[in-house]
Structure formats: structure tokens, C-alpha cells
Symmetry: C2
């Protein structure tokens, strides 16, 4: 029997989940639930329901995938819906994960559901690789490089500047720094030495470009600590050259072993992604599969990627996995 | 209370385990057990016992790490010792894993122990990455490249040739092929296109070098399907330049997502290891920690890396892991 999935929220991530489910014959998409007018939402084929109807599906959905944003949606949405469904989200505000975990755990335990928060690639696959690498090489140092990829948060920050019509910000790892880490040099790197920020900006006609550039480059937290380039482009160039949402990066750990730490090792996990939301969605779908397997083993409460036995992610049986992949 | 560990067998791997345990404050090494005369075995400080004494330690060891070879030792040793201890091994004959699993599982279940087979990096971390990547990107293709590193099996095969005193074989990935995979070209690669084999050979004085080179290059399974180079060197050069046991490689998966598979993704897990046995030992030690946590949750039977929740590998608590690594 297939595992029945619901999608709650239908932006880029929700669309990615719908696509990913097409490659998962053991998972069945029941429908998309939206807070917008359902008649305005065009899916790739999945039925669309108003969010208000969700409670009628309590017995028809095994895992509800929450595709809201981390800033305001998920902190309320995940604990609330964990009272009624097994849920999974991609909450990515790293600093607030413990707080979010606690709220979701309480709701899930009390109602006898299982939940998984912060699925995706960072948090998610990158986190897993930090954990694996540090457990294997306790004497060592971690590095995470992001990019080359679009940062939605930084793009939004630029768009809020007066005179800016549209903006796209690429986070770019400094190749020289990355190569030093790969060689096992264990460098101490400042924020500025690890990443560059490339900004492409469409400005209003007649806007003061010098001022916009200055405001971007000096923006605290977002840009002030980085070498930032600002390139003004036309609306047409933006549409033509910057429509995609690529991302990726590398998690590295360099460490030593031996009686005197005489042997060096480098572990690197690297992602090169054409579509950040679709890859994130693909990770979420694999964890949705796993989550329901765990629920069928009578587990409840909030989980993270750290708690999931890897075999549960695969549609293959344990026997097949051992024979083909071990 | 710390988890008490025993080491059974004290070659390169056993030594690596002893070193790795020094970086694991929550694990305590009880002793090394050897089938040799204990007075001839010099450890880095661990007490040495004769293998015959092992049964006196049934209540003093939580996990016994088996450091025998896969060809003849482990197929007998692991099921036999799983009757008396929680055990972990690094069985690496991929084709025989299902058979080995079955024998160990039966012994462990019947006696109420837990066991884990095939820990290390391949099988082990590489297997995990094959599983993760294929679960996330079901539409895609896997590639594993090994090296640059010493293959013990291939080195041994050369040593068996008449007139050969010593030999070291390096498996070398073909960089051009690796780059094509990294670019997402999804190439179909033959065995010859993926790896080269570099052989360094010390020959007996007066030996027929042409014959030795021919025998190596035409050896079925080991060398015939590869581009192989043979370099004759002196005993001194061998000692000076080829004493280390580096290894590593990359597991890659390239796959597509999107409504028409229009977005490409590349996942790469790459290891660069100065010491193959010490890195393998470090993986085993992390899994030994995990294994005893699973045993305390009353699990029994044979496991693999696919069955272990990643959090169990770390000495950190779940709360610490979520706060620091997620």
C-alpha cells in the first residue's frame, strides 16, 4: 500500500515536491492545500483544495509536507498541524531550531503523531555530513562553503532599498580558500575570505545608482563583511540571465589520525544544484517516506535528519539495499 | 559510564582502532586480543591478551571490534563471536555481504547480541552516500571512483608472480572521466576509462622484467581490463617512497528534477585519506559507539550502516547536535 502525501502551501517548494513525488511510485499525492483561492492555483496535475478543507483529510493523509516559509509560516504552522497530522517541514533558521523542535515535539507527542523538521540540504544533508565527519574525525576542523547560488534572503534585502525594482544576489565561494581547505592546510578564514557576494540590480529610471550601490555594500549582516560587487542590468537581462535558482556548496572536514596525529584526511560533500527548491523538495520527499516507516514502528514526537536510519529513505527493501548498495 | 571496547586482531586496522579510541573519551579500551604470542605484540599502550582468554571478558566488554581479514578470518570469526559479544567488523567482500549478514544475524539474534558488519568507507561511508543520493535523486546515475590509493589486493596479486620481491599498486581515477561526471555529462564509462593502475615492483636480481611486466598487464580481473603501467624500482626506493597507505575516492550521483527533468544536480562525496586503515578504523569506532547505544535500546541482530540513526555516532547529546550541527 502506498503512503499518502499532502502538500500544504504551493510556492516553488510545493511545486518541487509535486514533481519529486512523480519519481516515487510508493508515495501517492492526495492533493495540494492552499490558503489562496484554489481556482487560482495551477498544479502539474494534483487536485487543489482550500486550506480550510484540510481537517477533512485527517484519515486520508499519512504525511503532510509543509511548504511554508521559515520566517513567519512554519513556527506556527508546524506545531499546529502536528496536532492533527504526521508533518515534515524545511525550517531553516538555524539559530531557532531548538525552540522550533520543542514546540513541534510537544504537539506531536501529545497527539500521537510523528514530525520531522529542517529537512533539505542546509539544514539537512549538509548537517548530516557535518555530523558524520565530526564523529569519524574528532580531531579536526569543519568548513562550509555555499554557492555559487542565489540567496533569496540577500536578494530580498536589496529589493527593499529605495529605487530598486528587482535584484538577484549570488553567494560565491572563494575558490582559493576552498582549495586551501581541500589541500588540508586547515586555514583560519574570515567571513570575507570565504565568500564573495555578486549582486545584479534593476534600478528605477533616474535612480541614484551610486547611492544604491553604497547602501548595498555597507548593509550590516548582509553585505558589510563581504567583498561585494554590484552590477546594474536591465529588466530584460534579469529575466533572460537570472531566472534560475541554482545553489549548492561544500561541507568539508579536515582531520588527523595516528598515534601522533601524523595522518591527514579530507572529507568533502559537495552539491551542485540547478534548482535549489527542487533539490530541497527531493530531500523532503525521501524523508517523508522515512517518516511514515518510523511512524509504523510506533514512533512519535519530533525528529530531525539525525534520527532517521538511512535505509528508511529508500523505496528498496533492506535486503535489496545490502545486496546492491553496501 | 563509558562503553568498554575490545580489539580482536592487531594488524594495521587494529592499530588504527587503538589510535582512534584515544580521541573518544566516552569509549574505554579494555584490551587487545591476539592469536599470536601476546609477548610479541607491541601496542601503543593497551594491554594484550591471548585470544584464548577472550571468553573471560564476556561481562567486561560491551563491543568487540573484529580486525581480521575479509577473505578467511571474518566469515567465520564474526558469526562465531556474535554468539558471545556485541561485535562489529569491516567485512568488505561486496558480493558476499548478504551471505555474511545472514550468518551473523542468526548468531546475534539467537544469543541476544547486536552486530554490525561492513563498517568502513567502502563498504561504509561510500555505501551510505550511494543510498542517500539515490533516495534523493531517483532519476539519475551513480559513479564511484577510487584512488589515488594503494590496493592491497592488487599489490598482493603482483607479489605472487615469480621473480617479484615486493610490489605496490596504486589505483588512479582518470581525471578526465571524473570531470565529465562532475559536469553532469552522464557519460557511459568502461572500466578502462575510469581507472588506471600504476604498479611499482621490486624484482629479484636477474629476473626477466619483460615477462613480469607482461604477466602483470595481462592478469585477468586484476589488470587486463585496465591501462596499467609497471615501473621497476629498488628495495630502497620502495621503502622510501611507497611505505604509506593512502586511499580515497569519490561517490557521485548526477540526477534530474523538474516537471520534465529539466534541472540537473550533482552530488559528490569525496575522501582523500593519508591512511586507509586508520580512517577505516575511525569509522568503525564511531559505529561501535552507535552500536552500543542501539543495544541499550534493546535492539539485537545484525545491522549495517544503513540501519544506524546518525545521531548515535556522535558523543554529543541530541540537544547539542540540533543546536550545533543542524
Amino acid at each position: 500500500m502506498s503512503t499518502k502525501i499532502g502538500i500544504y502551501g504551493y510556492g516553488n517548494l510545493g511545486k518541487g515536491v509535486e514533481c519529486a513525488l512523480k519519481n516515487a511510485p510508493d508515495l501517492e499525492l492526495v492533493g495540494v492545500f492552499t490558503r489562496r483561492d484554489p481556482s487560482t492555483v495551477k498544479t502539474y496535475g494534483a487536485p487543489v483544495y482550500a486550506a480550510d478543507e484540510l481537517m477533512n483529510f485527517k484519515k486520508k493523509i499519512h504525511v503532510l509536507i509543509l511548504c511554508g516559509g521559515s520566517a513567519t509560516d512554519l513556527p506556527k504552522m508546524t506545531p499546529e498541524l502536528a496536532k492533527h497530522f504526521n508533518v515534515i517541514d524545511s525550517f531553516d533558521t538555524h539559530a531557532k531550531i531548538p525552540e522550533h523542535f520543542k514546540a513541534v515535539h510537544t504537539a506531536a507527542v501529545e497527539s500521537g503523531h510523528i514530525a520531522l523538521i529542517s529537512a533539505g540540504w542546509d539544514p539537512g544533508m549538509f548537517s548530516l555530513n557535518r555530523l558524520f565527519a565530526s564523529a569519524i574525525l574528532p580531531e579536526g576542523q569543519d568548513y562550509t562553503f555555499w554557492g555559487r547560488g542565489v540567496s533569496q534572503g540577500h536578494s530580498d534585502a536589496i529589493r527593499r532599498i529605495e529605487g530598486v525594482v528587482d535584484a538577484r544576489q549570488y553567494t560565491v565561494p572563494v575558490e582559493e580558500a576552498l582549495e586551501r581547505v581541500r589541500k588540508g592546510e586547515n586555514p583560519q578564514l574570515t567571513t570575507r575570505e570565504k565568500h564573495l557576494r555578486e549582486c545584479y540590480v534593476v534600478a528605477e529610471e533616474g535612480a541614484d545608482l551610486k547611492r544604491i550601490e553604497h547602501e548595498i555594500k555597507t548593509m550590516p549582516n548582509y553585505f558589510a563583511d563581504y567583498d561585494t560587487t554590484v552590477t546594474f542590468i536591465t529588466k530584460e537581462e534579469m529575466q533572460k540571465n537570472h531566472g534560475a535558482l541554482p545553489h549548492g556548496g561544500s561541507v568539508l572536514r579536515t582531520g588527523t589520525t595516528g598515534v601522533n596525529g601524523e595522518h591527514k584526511h579530507v572529507i568533502e560533500y559537495k552539491l551542485s544544484l540547478d534548482s535549489n527548491p527542487e533539490f530541497t523538495a527531493s530531500v523532503i520527499v525521501a524523508y517523508a517516506r522515512a517518516l511514515y516507516k518510523m511512524r509504523r514502528r510506533c514512533e512519535t514526537g519530533c525528529k530531525t535528519v539525525f534520527d532517521v536510519p538511512p535505509a528508511d529513505l529508500s523505496p528498496l527493501s533492506p535486503e535489496e539495499l545490502r545486496a546492491k548498495m553496501l
